[in-house]
């Protein structure tokens, strides 16, 4: 589990995060949502330790990241998998080599064991063996995301972070990526945090949703509750898309998914 307690973060006297607290449970897809500039990316970077918080605590199970030295942080980072918005695959490495990279760097596995693990991870994200030798520039956006997920799970992480994993993807591929992340989260019982402003993802896989508004916690709940929260700021965010306003009116919120739409 990851828990953040009363975190504050500012840049040049501009407060970006103000007293944010939340819990992210293992085995659930935890979503952070909010408008652009609301502070959700800063929050994700704070949780990852890429930004130092001004005040507050960030707990990875029983370990407080804020009090950790660099060496301890490095250790914890080996328990983290991260999927970046653009995939962030290494251009000079093939698909298989990208997934093998963390194994080469941090394990003492034999070549055969590594190969097996690479095949296992790529198989889990439905990448055909024929694509193993391709380079990132030769594969589609959706495939890049899947390879990035495979790389993120290569070291069997306890914590998985995804920064807008389906941005730039068509709705069908986006659904596949969402479902994939949710399935892997359940299968490996990871603590998964997804940063998104895609409402389809929220409705589909938002088992726990944290809404950030102007650097503060605006609302917290599940995808089942989100359309009927009664929270004005959250409603402004969600119902900017008329489809969801219509959904609420029609009372179809429960169980609504992209495919049904």
């Amino acid at each position: 589990m990851i828990e953040i307690k009363n975190i504050y973060k500012s840049f040049d006297d501009v407060a970006v995060l103000k007293n944010v607290s939340s819990q992210f449970s293992p085995g659930l897809t935890n979503l952070i949502i909010g408008r652009s500039g609301s502070g959700k990316t800063v929050m994700l970077k704070c949780i990852l330790g890429l930004h130092e918080v001004d005040k507050g605590e960030i707990w990875y199970d029983d370990r407080n990241l804020v009090k950790m030295h660099n060496k301890e942080r490095k250790k914890i980072r080996r328990e983290i998998g991260m999927v970046f918005q653009g995939g962030a695959l290494f251009d000079s490495l093939s698909v298989a080599a990208n997934v093998r990279f963390p194994l080469d760097m941090f394990t003492a596995m034999s070549v055969k064991e590594k190969q097996k693990r690479v095949e296992f991870c790529l198989d889990h994200v439905n990448i055909e063996p024929s694509a193993f030798r391709l380079f990132p520039s030769e594969i589609s956006g959706g495939m890049k995301k899947r390879v990035a997920i495979a790389r993120a799970i290569a070291l069997n992480p306890k914590y998985l972070f995804c920064d807008e994993p389906n941005s730039g993807l068509d709705p069908e591929t986006a659904t596949v990526i969402d479902k994939l992340i949710q399935d892997l989260t359940k299968e490996f019982q990871m603590t998964t945090i997804i940063n998104t402003h895609d409402m389809n993802s929220v409705i589909e896989i938002g088992e726990s949703v944290l809404f950030i508004s102007k650097g503060e916690v605006g609302w917290q709940g599940t995808n089942k509750e989100i359309l009927h929260s009664g929270n004005e700021k959250l409603n402004d965010f969600i119902f900017a898309n008329k489809l969801y306003a219509q959904m609420r009116e029609e009372g179809e919120a429960a169980g609504f998914g992209r495919k049904q739409g």
Binding site: L48, L50, R73, K74, K75, R77, R78, I80, M82, F84, Q85, G86, A88, L89, F90, D91, P102, D104, M105, F106, F161
Partner: protein
């Protein structure tokens, strides 16, 4: 940045693999361009020396001597470094800069890898290692260029040219230039790496960082050339 670059690597084997890759891509791939430029410049210098020493009072052996000393002292170390700043330097800035703007460097950091060290150290070591070899190759092929061009154009005979390049040879000139090439190798790898590592924005900024890197690398090479010449040669 340098303090991060020289920190202990996470896994030596991976760094060595990266080092050999860099020696190949930055160094070995530059050999052909060094050979081509050196052969032509060697030939051109021989003709120009012959032209400026047309007066029969000068012995023809001076043509070989002039070509040799210019190649050894300045061209093969400094000029090749300036050319390599354009070729290798822009390559390093654009590669690392692209990795920065496409979050590949963040990805390394999140994995717990010292990205500065993993990406930059092998490049610096590779370029510093390969530069003295490029220098020697350049001197050799420059002299060869003169040897071919001189007799073919009729400005100097093979015997005079060879006698000239053997005349008044000071091995210290080579040592001096080898020392220079080590400094230049470090500048050619580290300055562009710095610009690439700290680039912010997108493709446009990577391009502009590349230009800045090459310009500043060239200025630093010339500055260090002046300083080292003053310190080591006078």
């Amino acid at each position: 940045m340098l303090s991060r670059v020289i920190r202990r690597p996470e896994k030596h084997k991976m760094y060595f693999r990266q080092l050999f890759h860099e020696i190949d891509s930055l160094g070995v791939n530059s050999v052909w361009i060094v050979i081509i430029i050196s052969v032509f410049i060697g030939g051109i210098m021989t003709i120009q020396f012959a032209y400026s020493m047309a007066n029969p009072i000068y012995p023809r052996t001076l043509i070989g001597l002039g070509t040799r000393d210019t190649l050894i002292l300045e061209f093969s170390s400094t000029m090749i470094a300036l050319i390599m700043a354009g070729k290798i330097g822009s390559n390093i800035t654009s590669e690392i800069g692209t990795m920065r703007v496409t979050e590949q460097i963040d990805s390394l950091e999140i994995m717990g890898i010292n990205s500065a060290s993993y990406l930059i150290l092998p490049k610096i070591v590779a370029v510093v290692f390969i530069f003295p070899f490029l220098y020697i190759i350049s001197v050799f092929f420059g002299l060869l260029g003169g040897l071919v061009t001189g007799p073919v154009t009729g400005v100097v005979s093979v015997t005079d040219y060879i006698a000239g390049i053997q005349w008044l040879f000071y091995p210290y000139y080579v040592t001096f230039s080898l020392i220079k090439s080590l400094f230049f190798g470090f500048i050619v790898a580290s300055v562009p790496a710095y610009y690439g590592y700290y680039v912010q924005g997108g493709a446009l900024e990577v391009g502009s960082a590349s230009t800045k890197a090459v310009v500043n690398t060239n200025i630093l090479i010339l500055l260090f050339d002046l300083i080292l010449t003053r310190l080591l040669l006078t």
